[in-house]
Symmetry: D2
Subunit: 139 residues, 4 copies
């Protein structure tokens, strides 16, 4: 049995019926929207605004996602997305993000997100302040 | 019985299963994506690129949408979105957009889209070349 | 100047960055998702579950939407969707839904949603309990 | 250098501007919609309709996705999603799906999709006809 990582942030959501597909479950693509919104909200809570970074010429880029769909989310479900910073180097960062049903606390989805930042010069590299923030929250 | 407007452009689509909601029909919000993609593809066919306009500081803005949902689109449906330019002035434009099932040619959705352009000075106004293009295609 | 209707329900949201399009504003289609989630959450608060109705063979159907986009929502915005029941008969209902920025309380979007219910016999008709609930909340 | 798998199906798409996010690239979640639409269209081309299977009580379920984002898709891009059946057993199937820019033929995205089917008895198991179809197309 795998231990949970040391989460540093969490955000609650309610499933919207427009996110549920014809199979009666939240469509697999929608989870990536939940995960991104949680990452950006976490970053904003530390003073880092993805939109502002982009205006300065630094694009945050997801390079790889691994996601395990364990139990479906359905109409009416409330859930929480928890986030841990798993790794950060000068050229990439790794988040672990797990989704739990709020009522049952059952793990429904587990994801690993790898990303980097692209500065104006086009060569992947994590800006210093971004690196420091992630390093501080390292699980 | 209403006559069809003189369409100047049309674009075919296939429903994607991820666009069908828990009620077994294309979600009402998704039609607006079909309509926008058709408008932008029409504009591009006339040499006007919404993305390029935006880089020049001219934002294309939708100010009002009226949409009648007559028959639902479902999984597997092929359909065509037809477009007419209904009006254009120096400060706004109006598109009519109708969606037909490809097999039955039945009208499924009918929409009226009002928009404007916002130049860098922030006061709504249609750029000259954009005005000319729409005027040429006026129904 | 138009008076606000007597809202009977409201729901707060935060813009998700994945809902913001290349023009830096929430895409026009996304507002319909906010509006639907608010309607379904309102109905659930009165004991009516759209998903459950559908399992019983009653489909809730939107037949017309009119929406005015007055001010755009952007990355980071918090907003509230307010809802009023404007009309209900045996064959249709009308909701008014307005979106306000939370901080400025400025009206950003205003919509009128017309719908009906389709019972198993296929002829539009509002079920009694649904009619009573909407009638009780009539603005 | 990795060899390409033996693709058995491909489907062309055009990026819709509503799929492009505030960072000027197709949002990471949208790729999963492209991939699902390609899988369902492939299955339909072999006579298997995911919507019809679901009506018979067999749910197709994605259990894991690994996706590498190599180059972004942008406004106006045309691309093709290619698909290979990588493995199939009585309890799961694996698709490889790669996305290429149409003009440059450059590989932009590479994904591995693991799934299963849930019959009415709730215990994961691939129906015979589905197994045969995938086995026939095994790369």
């Amino acid at each position: 049995m795998k231990n949970s990582p040391a989460y540093c942030f969490e955000l609650e959501f309610a499933v919207r019926d427009s996110e549920v597909d014809m199979f009666g479950v939240v469509n697999n693509s929608v989870y990536l929207r939940y995960l991104e919104h949680t990452r950006h909200t976490f970053l904003k809570s530390t003073g880092i605004d993805a939109a502002h970074m982009q205006q300065l010429g630094f694009n945050l880029v997801v390079t790889r996602i691994e996601i395990d769909y364990k139990q479906p989310l359905r109409s009416g479900d409330l859930f929480v997305v928890k986030l841990a910073v798993s790794a950060v180097t000068r050229v990439r960062f790794v988040f672990l993000q797990d989704i739990y049903h709020l009522s049952s606390q059952q793990l429904t989805t587990s994801a690993r997100i790898v990303g980097t930042a692209i500065p104006p010069n086009g060569r992947p590299g994590i800006p210093d302040d971004f690196y420091q923030v992630l390093h501080t929250h390292l699980a």
